[in-house]
Symmetry: C2
Subunit: 250 residues, 2 copies
């Protein structure tokens, strides 16, 4: 029996009474931190396909739904713009599908520094590992490459924007869903830990996405939260946005 | 001085201390009602461009971010799928830009009845009025046409789906923003009131969108919430979703 069918059967056996989900983000012990958001601030989301989420790259306006994709960045942005309405914020998403850290670096002047974000949120790393597994033209970077590239990127960012407030997301994967096989472990864990360590070194707020997905799969089957183990479903994107908002203090 | 500049100046004069927005939806006095959502239920959003919000009409999968547009339906759906994760819900958006009630009726078999929603949310009416103002080929329907068409549509729906739970959104407009001129009033108000009366007649939950936009413009300029007076900005869409979720009890 598939895990999904088993899950539905369990529902039928009595847990339908619990129609309202406990707050996964609260259950995961995620706490508010101290990002300050002021009038006229700029918030920038950066990353790979999880951040990109099909955004319209032909347009460049802040707060334009089409430019924000249909992922966690869009959902988080919508809540920031609602809850901080009097602040006249401008929010951008410049994630690009397939990116690894070195590819962020290649477009950093245009897609980050020139935008002068007050809050910069970066989620990067799953491709730095995943693409090493490719059958053809596999990426040759290691976790040491990832660490060096990410530190270099953040050092460069802090040099140009000394007051930028950093939010770093934990690269995550949901095991046993399509792309994410046993082969990933323990190698992939080192990337998660590297992101966490580097966040601490750069005084960044850290969003523990792996922790919330680990909690989420207690409430619905893994493939409810992600179609392939790497890219979140709409429910997964909403979960990520909730964690992001909580951590950022919104 | 533009209202936006004046608003920003007011911020600078001291209200920046109030960085967190009071809950507009709470301030508007919107209350939870009694929609029941059960395991495996189907939720359908129907309406015009405000619901459509650029959705990808080439796909038909439930819960697919691309098929849900980038408006209030997407944001509300994301929160429903997160907060009701154990229920295995399926959510669709079948709004089509430009639609008036009679155009919903023309595609109702395919785009509603066949989908067999347990919860059907309809927001329709602004075009039933707005298109009467067109310089060429103006729509000849009146508020009486709107009432008759909407009652007929709901009667037909209830006949085919006797247990469907209805959510009816109030058509709304934000005065003095681009398209919405003095010319709209008081004629447009009759459409809002008609929707409210019909919601009551059909035992539908009513989402008072006009009321929340009237409240919202106390917190940020009108053009922060809508670009043209009719279509919500991302902040406006988030506001609508928050009201929808509150009214539906999620």
């Amino acid at each position: 029996m598939s895990s999904r069918r088993k899950f539905i059967q369990n529902l039928a056996l009595g847990t339908t009474l619990a129609v309202s989900l406990p707050e996964i983000v609260t259950a995961a012990g995620i706490k508010r931190t101290s990002i300050n958001i002021n009038a006229n601030d700029v918030i920038l989301f950066q990353g790979d396909s999880i951040t990109d989420a099909g955004r319209d790259k032909s347009k460049d306006d802040a707060n334009d739904p089409r430019t924000l994709g249909t992922g966690y960045a869009f959902i988080a942005a919508s809540q920031v713009l609602l809850k901080k309405a009097p602040l006249n914020l401008r929010i951008f998403n410049k994630g690009i599908s397939g990116n690894k850290v070195y590819q962020l670096a290649e477009r950093w002047d245009k897609d980050c520094l020139k935008i002068k974000p007050n809050v910069l949120s970066i989620l990067i790393g799953v491709n730095d590992y995943w693409h090493t597994l490719a059958k053809e033209n596999a990426y040759s970077g290691t976790v040491e490459t990832y660490k060096r590239d990410l530190k270099d990127l953040l050092t460069r960012t802090k040099k140009d924007l000394p007051n930028v407030q950093l939010v770093i997301g934990e690269p995550f994967a949901v095991k046993d869903v399509r792309a994410v096989t046993d082969e990933w472990y323990p190698a992939f864990d080192a990337y998660r830990l590297a992101a966490k360590d580097i966040a601490k070194d750069f005084n960044a707020v850290f969003v523990p996405y792996q922790q919330i997905f680990d909690e989420a799969i207690k409430h619905a089957p893994a493939n409810y939260w992600t179609g392939d183990g790497v890219h979140p479903s709409l429910a997964g994107a909403a979960l990520m946005a909730e964690a992001w908002l909580k951590v950022v203090g919104i």
